[in-house]
């Protein structure tokens, strides 16, 4: 394992210290591993928290700030945080207007956030509403699975819901727009290499020099299918077509197109991918209204990429364009 770390067990704790040192406008509760806005709680504003296993940086801590999250809970690598953390975060950001929990659909995350919501309500009477993201079309959504994974849409949802909360919308309205984002967004990912969990010390799975893993999530889970390595044009089609098929897009639909890197893939390759994605969308008459290219929801050092398409309307676009000021996403301010 080759990583810029010290003791593998200290990665999360030390990364949090690094974030604190690099971003004076953020606060870190080291006991609970919570990153929160220096100005939290904002009286009268709906608080938004998220969290999950670490190893997906900048998600979620890099999205804490004006116009996005109020707090983020960092779990161990690839392991959802524990209820106490979300309970502490909920308390930190509750400005009296209630708190939205943004939860990626993984059994562990859902159960720990559930317990946290129960505890928070019992302790402070805080009103908590949870929105679960489940946008990964690689997973069959059926009663025979834990349901689809929450992946790329989570980034777009946190930005858009954050803007809605900043506008002063109430908890139900913020939750509603968040659900609208999840309902209209779909993602699919591909891995060219495995990732290596620091505490495990070796790659989670083996992938031959000529192979790729299609339909991976963001935890080094094996994907749905192992295929021979293909050119970017074919890979892009393998990612985009299932998305378009799953959430019927009509000609002229505006979308927010998000080409994400999984951690070990450099930006130049993401732009090559974006070129292919934009060509495929043009072929379907789908209009790219906004775009995001970069490594925003990662899987440690995995080489690979995911594509997320969000079918947008004027409301979602104006919330997307609203000012945001976080470590990883910033514009308009």
């Amino acid at each position: 394992m080759k990583k810029l770390i010290n003791d593998p067990n200290d990665v999360v704790v030390e990364a949090l210290r690094g974030i604190e040192a690099a971003h004076p406008e953020l606060r870190v509760d080291h006991q609970h591993k919570v990153i929160y806005r220096g100005d939290a709680p904002k009286q009268g504003k709906v608080g938004i928290i998220s969290g999950g296993g670490s190893g997906h940086e900048p998600l979620h801590g890099g999205f804490v700030g004006l116009g996005m999250l109020d707090a983020a809970c960092a779990g161990e690598v690839f392991t959802s945080p524990v209820p106490e953390q979300m309970q502490a975060a909920t308390k930190l950001v509750d400005g009296g207007a209630g708190v939205l929990h943004v939860v990626k659909n993984y059994t562990g995350d859902v159960m720990n956030f559930e317990m946290a919501a129960e505890l928070a309500a019992a302790e402070t009477g805080a009103r908590v509403v949870s929105v679960v993201t489940d946008d990964d079309v690689a997973v069959q959504d059926s009663t025979w699975t834990a349901g689809r994974r929450g992946v790329g849409v989570t980034v777009l949802l946190e930005k858009i819901a954050g803007a809605a909360a900043e506008q002063g919308r109430d908890l139900d309205q913020v939750a509603e727009v968040a659900r609208k984002v999840n309902a209209n967004g779909r993602s699919m990912g591909v891995a060219l290499t495995s990732c290596t969990v620091p505490a495990a010390g070796k790659p989670t799975f083996e992938l031959g020099e000529g192979e790729m893993e299609l339909g991976v999530g963001i935890h080094g889970e094996p994907g749905r299918q192992r295929l021979p390595l293909a050119p970017a044009s074919e890979i892009a089609a393998l990612l985009v077509e299932p998305i378009l098929a799953d959430l019927p897009f009509s000609t002229g639909d505006p979308v927010i197109a998000f080409v994400n890197g999984l951690g070990g893939t450099p930006l130049i390759e993401l732009y090559v991918m974006f070129n292919e994605v934009s060509r495929i969308l043009a072929g379907h008459g789908v209009l790219i209204a906004r775009s995001l290219v970069g490594s925003y929801i990662t899987s440690l050092d995995m080489a690979g990429s995911s594509v997320t398409l969000l079918k947008a309307d004027d409301e979602l676009l104006s919330l997307w364009d609203a000012p945001v000021n976080t470590a990883a996403l910033r514009w308009g301010i």
Partner: protein, 211 residues
């Protein structure tokens, strides 16, 4: 006849379990790497080490206090799916046993069944979903049956251990319908479930304890 076990014996069971989890940490993680995200052994070991530390700090007086502390510690240190699930298992056992000084075989079997109920409430798993349920449910049944037949705890737990081991092995051919492994669909077949393996260790620990 119906002998009672002291809280000290039950604590010894918990400590044995922590020891076996530590011993099998990498094995559990490898099982999770095949159909999950390669952290189950790390999660359980982190949690049980915290449990041992908590027990070292203060010895619980009652079986109820013991299992509640185990459950709370797991919930607050493990995370992932196994934190709430194993945490709830022990929390329910604790609340069921209450503050009696010693525990009868019947009480332990009943508490164990209550723990299973907690796991189902949280995780909504049933038979053949390829989860810890598939090792835990048979163990609960075996212990209850043995105790109903008047077996003593030691032999009842041996039968529960055998049932758990069989349940664990039975998960290998199953197609996962819960947890991360379910994302794999057909590809989950042929791999043993990590959580079920940990449940079997819990029963192994019991048979290694002088009940």
């Amino acid at each position: 006849m119906d002998e009672n076990v002291t809280t000290a014996v039950l604590e010894e069971w918990v400590r044995r379990f922590a020891h076996l989890v530590a011993e099998n940490r990498d094995h559990l993680t490898e099982l999770d790497a095949a159909i999950g995200d390669a952290d189950h052994g790390l999660n359980m070991d982190r949690g049980m080490k915290a449990v041992v530390a908590a027990l070292d700090a203060a010895t619980p007086a009652t079986a109820g206090a013991l299992f509640s502390k185990v459950g709370m510690t797991l919930v607050s240190t493990v995370g992932g799916a196994s934190g709430p699930l194993f945490g709830t298992l022990f929390l329910r056992m604790g609340s069921t046993l209450g503050d009696a000084q010693a525990t009868s075989a019947h009480e332990l079997a009943a508490a164990f069944r209550a723990g299973l109920g907690g796991v189902v409430d949280r995780g909504k798993a049933g038979p053949e979903d390829k989860t810890m349920y598939d090792a835990l449910a048979p163990a609960v049944e075996a212990l209850a049956a043995a105790v109903a037949d008047g077996a003593d705890l030691a032999s009842g737990l041996k039968q529960a251990r055998d049932a758990a081991a069989a349940g664990r092995d039975a998960t290998t051919p199953m197609l996962a319908r819960k947890g991360r492994a379910s994302y794999l669909g057909e590809r989950s077949v042929g791999h043993q479930d990590p959580g079920a393996t940990t449940v079997a260790l819990l029963l192994d620990a019991a048979t290694e304890t002088a009940f």
